[in-house]
């Protein structure tokens, strides 16, 4: 690859990296805000339910995760994360081009083993009737998890971009050893 092409690619990569860093900073600020909101809601719940009523003593002895991470590899060495909630089903899609009528009863549904045992909502660890502040805390931390996956993807992209940048800089040095 000629030096001018390498330089152009370097510039493009650098701009992308700077954009990713800016996006990372923005998402971090939002994540930190969500987590702080969550702590405040937990404190309110603790005030309503009692000091020892919201903590490790209430953790269940058996937990199933409601939230999982799916990873995908966009390019070689570049991992992307996506948060998937258990029990989320994609809606049935009916294209506009379909000429046939939809059957009212719908297509035959294949049995889904995981839907028979939905993971228990962690809110249930704290009692049947929980204060609204505890639900708010759960919502804040759930938002935080989505942001965490985005931030982790961005961090991976930045690391990957950094390695690509180094490789290109090395190639450029080999092509132009005398240039500064």
């Amino acid at each position: 690859m000629a030096a001018p092409d390498l330089r152009a690619e370097l510039d493009s990569l650098l701009l992308q990296l700077l954009g990713d860093l800016e996006e990372l900073e923005g998402k971090r600020a939002v994540l930190n805000a969500r987590v702080e909101e969550g702590w405040l809601s937990l404190a309110k719940a603790r005030y309503a339910m009692g000091a020892k009523s919201v903590g490790p003593l209430q953790y269940a002895s058996h937990m199933e995760p409601q939230v999982c991470l799916h990873t995908s590899e966009a390019q070689e060495g570049l991992q992307k994360f996506k948060v998937v909630r258990a029990g989320v089903h994609t809606p049935e899609e009916v294209g506009p081009g379909e000429a046939a009528l939809r059957r009212r009863k719908g297509p035959a549904k294949t049995p889904e083993p995981q839907s028979s045992e939905a993971p228990q909502d962690p809110l249930n660890w704290f009692g049947i009737l929980v204060p609204h502040s505890l639900r708010q805390a759960q919502a804040s931390f759930r938002d935080g998890l989505q942001l965490a996956a985005d931030i982790a993807s961005l961090q991976n992209r930045i690391d990957w971009g950094r390695n690509q940048l180094r490789e290109l800089q090395e190639k450029l040095k080999q092509l132009e050893p005398g240039a500064a």
Binding site: N32, E36, S61, H62, L145, A152
Partner: protein, 147 residues
Amino acid sequence: MAGRGKLIAVIGDEDTVTGFLLGGIGELNKNRHPNFLVVEKDTTINEIEDTFRSLGSLLGSVVEAKPNEHDPPLWDEIDSTQFLHRDDIGIILINQYIAEMVRHALDAHQHSIPAVLEIPSKEHPYDAAKDSILRRARGMFTAEDLR
């Protein structure tokens, strides 16, 4: 476990862990060790490090401990509690003040999975200058490159 996706682990103070468990990331059953660690005043740095280490070693980086230096049952116990050794963890959330205690282990972890995310705690707000990822990004250029 195949097809279920990866887990999110959390190492933090009581409120941080309780909050994220409320969010639905917790896993705990008879056969598996938990994917969370509540760090309290009496939690030792070795315990935090043992729980955290393994994420990098899964992909072949250096593991300091050797099997023949431990009793076999103890080795198994350490192995199963370490988030880094588990191939089912995608992200580790860790309070930044706890990350500072095990900074050497974090800096040694160079792999993309699991990703390590530093988050603030109630007493210690987030400081971008201490974040491992941002410190690496800051060191991208030398003075020579900028001429």
